[in-house]
């Protein structure tokens, strides 16, 4: 079989750069003054001002991780942590400034909103520029707004939950997030309300040498249900951009949340994102996650099964191409009886790209009658790619059914020959096998996203195999 060759991929629409025009941008770096300046600019309430300064202190105390990808090229003195776009928050696309609107148009956001979404939020750099939701959901008491508005309009709810699921001392970049966070979405689904059509937030980082630190806080109250979609992208610059968002999901008794992400950051992005869900009695959280972009990703969504009978499923895929190091996986802690988790992770690596699956399954003493199954599969597309599987399974009680399976290897020559005997070129055959490999994940995504994912796979494979 012939060997791979790689050309730099035109990521077309994702790479459209707008001029770096902003209303306000803090100085690069991370000092008390800069944090105070952010609070000032955002008109934070007092508790949030204190919160940020405290988080900064924690940040300064914590060490960089001693494991995983090398983050030494990240220099916080070179990152502007707050960039306010030249736009206020709008509820109509017509009011969004032309160049920003064009970007979101090309990414298909307004179109998707019309067709298949119950509500949309769009963040550009550090602030949300558009937020809107269907009238009937508002009537049912569903809240979907940007975090800044939420702090003002739902102060008690926000204060009660903000960084309670992901505490600032979790790791260094969570502390950083606590200090400089801006933007993001707040969702509250009242008791018993079922939101049948997904809500979606899209995060776009346009400004070079800057960071995006959006905070997503979702509360799904008892018996309610929601599907939330998160999309992210950025154009490519030569210098490092940083994304350290935080997602906190509170899913109360008997509630259901599906959280889907397609992440397509540009390949100069360090994506150090933290996502966690606390799950109540008989409640369920399903994660669907596709990681394609970024230079380095460290992303391990986590489910904490606190309620008896709670469930979680993780379905994720990572695709690392040239120059990418995607360290992703999942964490689950079983803290109550009769809980269950299902983890299905896949990765594809090519052209010196590195994928690492890293995970934790912890079954605590009281989690009697727990079931957990893990399956991870890694596909290597050429002889320069790297793929590691690093799962920790920590089991502290006997009433469990735990199983774990991992597989690593390349596309079978026999399968390629079979498809070629039906007239497919070698490239087509490989692409078909790769798409098939990714199918269990793409089928979990809404149609448009599945199409986007297949597009991304095709983009990645284009010219790469021949």
């Amino acid at each position: 079989m012939s060997k791979s060759k790689v050309k730099d991929i035109d990521r077309n629409i994702y790479d459209i750069k707008n001029k770096d025009e902003y209303d306000f941008k803090v100085k690069k770096g991370l000092t008390k003054e800069i944090i105070e300046e952010i609070s000032e600019q955002k008109n934070d309430p007092q508790w949030m001002r204190e919160f940020r300064l405290n988080a900064l202190e924690v940040y300064n105390k914590l060490e960089l991780p001693t494991w995983g990808p090398d983050l030494s090229e990240l220099d916080m003195n070179e990152i502007a942590t707050y960039v306010r776009p030249k736009s206020k928050l709008n509820t109509s696309w017509d009011e969004v400034p032309e160049d920003i609107k064009t970007t979101f148009d090309k990414l298909g956001i307004p179109e998707a909103e019309k067709k298949s979404l119950a509500g949309v939020g769009a963040q550009y750099d550090s602030e949300v520029v558009y937020h809107s939701m269907k009238e009937e959901l508002i009537k049912q008491g569903v809240v979907y707004t940007d975090m800044e508005t939420a702090i003002k309009e739902y102060p008690k709810l926000v204060k009660e939950h903000f960084m309670k699921c992901v505490p600032v001392y979790d790791h260094k970049f969570v502390a950083l997030h606590g200090a400089v966070w801006s933007g993001g979405s707040f969702v509250y689904v009242p008791k018993g309300v079922k939101v049948d059509i997904p809500l979606q937030s899209y995060f776009r980082l346009n400004s070079p040498e800057s960071g995006q630190f959006e905070h997503t806080l979702i509360i799904v109250d008892e018996g309610a249900s929601l599907h939330f979609i998160e999309g992210c992208s950025a154009p490519k610059y030569n210098k490092i951009n940083l994304h350290a968002g935080c997602v906190e999901l509170f899913v109360k008794d008997n509630a259901y949340l599906r959280y889907s992400t397609i992440e397509n950051w540009s390949k100069n992005m360090l994506n150090l994102n933290t996502k966690k869900a606390i799950i109540g009695k008989n409640a369920q959280v399903d994660w669907v996650s596709g990681s394609f972009g970024s230079k380095i990703s460290m992303l391990y969504p986590m489910s904490i099964l606190n309620g008896e009978g709670s469930k979680t499923e993780y379905t994720g895929i990572s695709f690392a191409g040239k120059g990418q190091n995607l360290d992703t996986g999942f964490k689950v802690v079983h803290n109550a009886p009769n809980t269950s988790s299902v983890i299905n992770a896949k990765s594809i690596s090519k052209s010196d790209g590195k994928c690492t699956y890293r995970s934790l399954v912890r079954i605590n003493e009281n989690a009697k009658n727990t079931k957990s199954s893990v399956s991870c599969e890694s596909l290597m597309l050429d002889d320069t790619s790297i793929s590691d599987t690093i799962p920790v399974n920590d089991i502290k009680t006997d009433e469990v059914e735990f199983s774990h399976e991992a597989k690593i290897g390349k596309i079978s020559d026999k399968a390629i020959f079979y498809l070629m005997s039906r007239g497919l070129s070698e490239e087509d055959a490989k692409a078909m096998i790769v798409r098939g490999f990714a199918y269990p994940i793409s089928k979990e995504l809404p149609v448009e996203y599945a199409a986007e994912m297949n597009n991304l796979i095709n983009l990645e494979l284009e010219g790469a195999i021949g």
Binding site: P65, T66, W67, G68, R358, L360, E365, K368, S378, M380, L381, D382, D383, S385, I386, S387, D388, T389, I390, P391, V392, N393, D394, I395, K396, T397, D398, E399, V400, E401, F402, S403, H404, E405, A406, K407, I408, G409, K410
Partner: protein
């Protein structure tokens, strides 16, 4: 001296919060004055197996960590250099028996299997019931081209002793190294196992059983690096834990660049016989070569209720039924041991430990 040590680092780190990168033992008594260890039996067919009482090679790629590696070098009280020249399989038995006059063993064993040579080498550690023994050993094996060597390590020390062992293997072309490890004894039983499969078509099989009771702690850190074309490693670990016993199994199969068509399999099963027993597993597959096949599976849980019920319905009481099930799981690995006397001893030990 009384010391707290961190040891047995994994080759690749993961999040500190997962508590899997190494193991920490607090306030362990490390003997300062090491007297000689005399109680050693060497039996079996010794023709064409040469044993020298000197071995200065203390270098280890991994080992249990700096402290114990240095300690071995400084305090060693037994050096053995075993050279296998037999072309037909020979069985050679080394028994170390700990008693009140032979409390501490810091041995350094090197086994060289020359080209085309074959042997079974049994290394047994056993202690009297009432002693607090300390063992820190090194077993280093070099299998030359086409050598076929079968190593059986049996740890039947008591549960108040400490057992540390570093194993290192180098496999040359078409060599075969098969390990059967029976790991039962020790308050702490900590093993570092490292194989370097540099040879094309080299083949390394590791079968381990462990059985923990009371507050025993087992830490098994197995690392296999595949470098040779069509090299193969198979790791199978079967274990059972009762009472508040703990086990950490860390298995790494590392496909290094160039090990085309290499295969690696790792299977780990842990039976939990009590709700206080704890099992941590970190089965890693590291891969920088595409043309390989790596598989891993692990499972943890109780003995199946249905199987247990079936056996009990045949008149066995619960404890007997459990023994039967554990023995059944272990049997396939114990079958590797052809020495009937030793096999019997191991089976009896299983029964005793499950009483």
């Amino acid at each position: 001296m009384i010391k707290s040590i961190e040891l047995n680092e994994t080759p690749v780190r993961t999040s500190k919060n997962f508590n899997a990168n190494n193991i920490k033992i607090n306030d362990i008594e490390i003997p300062d004055n090491i007297s000689s260890f005399y109680n050693i039996d060497i039996t079996g067919e010794c023709s064409n197996i040469q044993v020298e009482q000197e071995n200065n090679d203390y270098s280890l790629v991994y080992g249990l960590g700096n402290f114990l590696n240095e300690y071995s070098k400084a305090k060693s009280n037994k050096e053995l250099n075993i050279i296998v020249n037999s072309k037909t399989p020979k069985e050679f038995i080394l028994s170390f028996n700990f008693d009140e006059n032979n409390l501490n063993l810091i041995e350094n064993i090197k086994i060289t299997a020359n080209e085309n040579c074959k042997a079974t080498i049994i290394i047994k550690y056993k202690s009297d019931h009432n002693v607090n023994a300390f063992h820190n050993g090194i077993i280093k094996t070099i299998a030359k081209n086409m050598a076929d060597i079968n190593i059986i390590i049996v740890n039947l020390m008591n549960d108040s002793s400490n057992n540390f062992l570093s194993i290192e293997n180098t496999l040359e072309d078409s060599s075969k190294v098969k390990y059967t490890i029976v790991d039962f004894g020790g308050k702490h039983s900590i093993t570092n196992f490292y194989s370097n499969l540099i040879g094309n078509f080299s083949n390394n099989i590791i079968n381990t059983i462990y059985l923990g009771k009371n507050n025993q702690l087992f830490d098994l850190n197995y690392i296999a690096e595949l470098r040779g074309v069509k090299s193969n490693v198979d790791i199978e670990v079967q274990g059972a834990l009762k009472d508040t016993a703990h086990k950490h199994f860390k298995g790494t199969i590392d496909f290094k660049k160039g090990c085309k068509k290499a295969t690696g399999n790792e299977n780990e099963f842990c039976m939990l016989l009590s709700d206080k027993a704890k099992s941590l597993a970190l089965p890693m597959l590291l891969c920088s070569e595409e043309d390989v096949e790596g598989n891993h599976s692990s499972a943890t849980g109780k003995i199946g209720e249905k199987e247990l019920f079936y056996i009990m319905s045949r008149g066995f009481e619960l404890k007997e039924a459990m023994k039967l099930m554990v023995r059944a799981k272990f049997n396939r690995i114990i079958e590797n041991i052809k020495n009937e006397e030793l096999k019997e001893e191991i089976l009896n030990e299983i029964d005793n430990r499950l009483d």
